[in-house]
Symmetry: C2
Subunit: 638 residues, 2 copies
């Protein structure tokens, strides 16, 4: 044993060599999302569409994307993705499509779908690997009359594109855009993990995009829901929170700044000169020190000091959250005719930072009604406006959900951990300048503690609303029961007593009011042929006269009010009725109709808010959240 | 909108550039296993130890590895890993430790722990990133008198090592080996996801390794359990099954062979000339065709034809399964004093292929006894003899477990899918020339359909044993009840009847035998101070005389028999007693003692096998599996 060790080290040395990044990914294609035939198709479409959306948004163009899938042989598909983006200049086409780790957004600190410069080249590589065929790219930029069409393969050993053919073509009716045609081995499936599902969900969270899907002879158009592009994201400087010491040292060494103070202020976000001085003083380093001469220990002290100084949360303009309405719409869209009893107000959390990268979490939740109560709750996962369909088990969203004891919020959960079960759907969006995906396929979010924690907080916010709702429902039911009893028994007691003392039966209304002590709202909604009819019955069972304001959210901001039995005081994104005086023991009824084009699902979640009564004295509706008063007043002013 | 599209394509072009692999991983350190502080430490140790084990095995050296962890500042640790491997020649040290994607095993088709040439360089990178400090590598090869010590950092932009310092040192008492010292940010935890747990499990599945762990002033030595190195794995040619068309085309283009036939025979494993001719004929391609002139369509037909021709399963010598005994030992080791009632015979499946890569699945299962019956079953995951501690949710092992309806095998499972619960522990080992890990951190196995399917088959094999056991237990209990009833009631009936007809009470033994109709084995084991006492009571309640052979597995092959009331016919890896004649209604008892050094857990799973009686007529023991007869006879001969 060990006898021929002498030669072994040399022998091993001969075998040690560089591994090409291309060959590495070729052999580990599953890391890029090509592990099963069904997924391969989804991945190919996803990478193409993500690129198109990013390019359009960057060029301030409303995206118009066409995806076409044809089976051309057994388990072999032609995938064509065409957009109206700015196009790609000729000299860059080979690298963008035929070189892994080549892109424009890697060094930018702002939210975008693609970042790593791997995705679409990986599709070219997998097409070639699985079918032996090149990918055809056509691109037209606005300043040229003609388009360029190239056939591209990838030399994985050198990680370089090879141009098989190249020609100039006329692209009729196209001002600018890119078309990408590849042939890959795959399997077209329907259902939860399908291309269709991916495109549908993409359309929901990107309502400014028009997506046309030709598949198997069928054409589906996901129409544009708004002509408003999301506000463009702006590249920011790194945030100092959680930044690695090594990164900080490197930045200091490479900085052009001559003083620590201006280095901190100019190369990090959200640091003022005052904060910089505070950091320097807490770190016991002179703020005039040249950053390139900082010692390792000084750098360490500076980073430590930043955690003791209050630094503002990161800028939000590098991020593009999807906001309440889209979260709600996203949830509605997967309901497929179910009508949940409760829509939790969606949560958009404040941005936070992990390892210097800003991120923001949004959560929505619907519950009850006729949603299936068997099995685990359903989860919609979205990262930077891209729906995630795979690797649920290994995703930070799942970790966060499992970390919560849902029983205290009213959901079933075996043993108080693991996936909760019951009639609920949860939607989670993580937006970041760098979403920490678990692999290059961008299918799941890594369990970064800060991210998991923030998702948990978002979930708990929604969960608390759910608990409040369930408690209120319980209370409403109890009060309804009390109501019924009071209504039936009180008159009998009164009659009997009156009989015994030989007097007239006294008026009971006020007694009942004393017993109840609440404002009671009964709402009922009806839907027929796109029209929604609603009735709100408001009863003042409190001893005092009330001045009430009633709010109801419209299903969509553009929904029109057709008629209303009481003239609303405001008709815009929501409706508002003033009930200036409602005497004790009296009621008021509002009947109204919303305009057509509504889906049945749109009607389920209409929330009624009442101003002018305490939460504990209101049954059947919600009080207006504290911070809404000012906000609504501003909307009304516009 | 779209107004400044002209300049946009050019503007974007300016930003498009190559992304350095080093910078890519630096920003995505979580992909390399550095997403949490606790995991960072485990990852660093794992990468170092994996490298050491691979190097030792390659050089035919019994590994002797020392791991040392010291906290040197708040959340900052020094990690030192030293081995007795062959060492690394001086000129290769910088690349091996300071360059990502640099290694010796990437192009080999055989099982090894490391393959990608990323792991240990990633540790150097993370050390530098998180603490700003270089890594110190010391290496001595056998042919030199002195060792080389280098301080290394990594230039991530160029993906190149930078040598900070270099010196020649004497390494006393060391013939050859490598020592690796790095400083990283981390957090030392105990429990399921700890360095200790990783080393313990590594020691179990690598019993030829001696691992010493110094940590926090404590020293733990995981002793060598065998001086036998696992048989060295041999590099093989790719298997043609599931190989990608693109890979096949490339191989054909680059082949030196002049004829298709010899190309298939010489560049793929397990293809004979006859098979090659059959493939060519089924593909309708002349087997004299020059492979480099094959058309894409011909290549496609050839691959299609291979699926219609029987090609042998891949060679097994490229793989290194851990085998039954280690599976059992691995399971025992996590029992921590629990005594399960049932050890399923571990399964080592035949090798199979995914995308041309041979792989092999092994499964073990223990059940019942005092194992906790609350919560999910526990799972031990191992890949190429490396324990996997993280990312359980996103692992093929979990997918396979969840795919099975465990209720039919006797475990609880809500709704027949998801993780089963109950008193069970499952161990799964996947060995492959290329384990399809979900990311570069090698924490979980991707859901490759062939791999998931094979794990499922292994699980089902063990699960069937469990079901058989549970059914047998049920039957045994039923028969015991019957027994008791028969014993109590039969004499009473006999007495009464005899009384009525005024005769003597007849002998009942034979009647009871007729009613029972089984050989009944009662076993009891006792453990005290490392000595195991066993009693086997064998009762022949069948109407015929029986010639029986009784087998009992030893806890370990080296376990010694101290005494036995009946002289065994064989005493080796197991014990065998011949009971040449056991009359109907008679019993026999064997008492024996096993030698010291046994753990309490070793005694729980001792299985008794009986030859000479049908399975349906045997209670309390197992019949000898069909294929064992020949195998055991051979062991006895040796």
């Amino acid at each position: 044993m060990g006898c021929n060790v002498d030669s072994i080290a040399e022998k091993l040395a001969e075998k040690q060599k560089e591994i090409s990044i291309g060959e590495f990914f070729e052999r580990n294609k599953h890391i890029l999302g090509f592990d099963t035939l069904t997924k391969s198709l989804v991945t190919a479409v996803k990478e193409g569409v993500d690129n198109s959306l990013d390019a359009c948004e960057e060029a301030d163009i409303l995206p118009d994307i066409t995806v076409k899938i044809d089976e051309i042989a057994y388990q072999e598909y032609r995938v064509v993705i065409e957009d109206n983006g700015p196009g790609i200049v000729k000299r860059k086409i080979p690298d963008v499509f035929g070189k892994l780790l080549y892109g424009s957004r890697f060094h930018d600190i702002r939210q975008s779908r693609g970042q790593q410069g791997i995705g679409v080249s990986a599709v070219v590589m997998y097409g070639q690997l699985s079918t032996g065929r090149p990918t055809i790219v056509r691109s037209k930029i606005a300043e040229k009359e003609y388009a360029i069409e190239m056939e591209i393969t990838m030399d994985t050993k050198r990680n370089e594109a090879e141009i098989v053919s190249e020609e100039v073509v006329l692209w009729e009716g196209k001002e600018h855009g890119t078309k990408f045609e590849t042939t890959i081995k795959g399997l077209l499936r329907s259902g939860e993990h399908s291309v269709f599902e991916y495109l549908k969900n993409t359309a929901i969270v990107n309502p400014h995009a028009r997506i046309t899907f030709h598949c198997d002879g069928d054409t589906t158009v996901f129409k544009r829901a708004t002509d408003q592009l999301p506000p463009p994201t702006v590249a920011v400087k790194p945030h100092i929170e959680g930044i690695e010491l090594g990164t900080f040292v490197k930045m200091a060494k490479e900085s052009d700044r001559r003083k620590l103070g201006s280095f901190l202020v100019n190369e990090f976000s959200r640091i003022s000169y005052r904060t910089a001085r505070e950091i320097a003083s807490k770190a016991d380093v002179d703020d005039d020190t040249n950053p390139s001469s900082l010692t390792l220990d000084e750098c360490k002290r500076i980073l430590k000091a930043t955690s003791k100084v209050k630094i503002m949360a990161p800028e939000t303009d590098c991020l593009s959250p999807i906001r309440s309405m889209l979260i709600k719409k996203g949830l509605k869209n997967v309901l497929k005719g179910y009508r949940p009893e409760f829509y939790s107000p969606p949560t958009t959390r404040e941005p936070r930072v992990y390892s210097g990268n800003p991120f923001q979490v949004e959560v929505g939740l619907v519950y009850g009604g006729d949603l299936p109560s068997e099995g685990s709750v359903r989860v919609l996962r979205i990262a930077n406006r891209v729906p995630l369909l795979y690797k649920k088990g290994g995703c930070a969203t799942t970790t966060a959900i499992k970390n919560i004891d849902w029983r205290i919020y009213g959901l079933d959960q075996r043993g108080g951990s693991g996936m909760p079960s019951g009639p609920a759907i949860i939607m989670i969006h993580v937006a970041s300048t760098r979403v920490p995906f678990t692999s290059e396929a961008k299918e799941a979010i890594a369990d970064i503690p800060e991210v998991v924690d923030e998702i948990e907080r978002g979930l708990r916010e929604c969960a608390r609303h759910l608990r409040t709702h369930l408690n209120r429902e319980k209370r409403r039911k109890k009060i309804s029961r009390k109501f019924r009893i009071v209504r039936e028994i009180l008159p009998m007691i009164a009659e009997k007593s009156a009989d015994i003392v030989d007097r007239d039966v006294p008026p009971l209304e006020t007694v009942m009011t004393k017993i109840m002590g609440v404002v009671y709202v009964e709402k009922s909604f009806d839907w027929e042929n796109g029209v929604c009819r609603g009735i709100l019955d408001i009863n003042n069972y409190t001893p005092k006269e009330k001045e009430l304001v009633i709010y109801i959210e419209k299903p969509y901001p553009e929904t029109e009010l057709l008629k209303s039995s009481i003239e609303p005081a405001f008709d815009g994104e929501y409706l508002k009725w003033d009930i200036e005086s409602l005497s004790s023991s009296k009621g008021e009824s509002i009947e109204f109709e919303f305009d057509g084009g509504l889906e049945k699902e749109d009607v389920g979640g209409l929330e009624v808010y009442v101003e002018g009564v305490k939460e504990t004295s209101l049954i059947g509706a919600e009080t207006l959240p504290d911070d809404w008063g000012v906000e609504l007043a501003e909307i009304e002013k516009e």
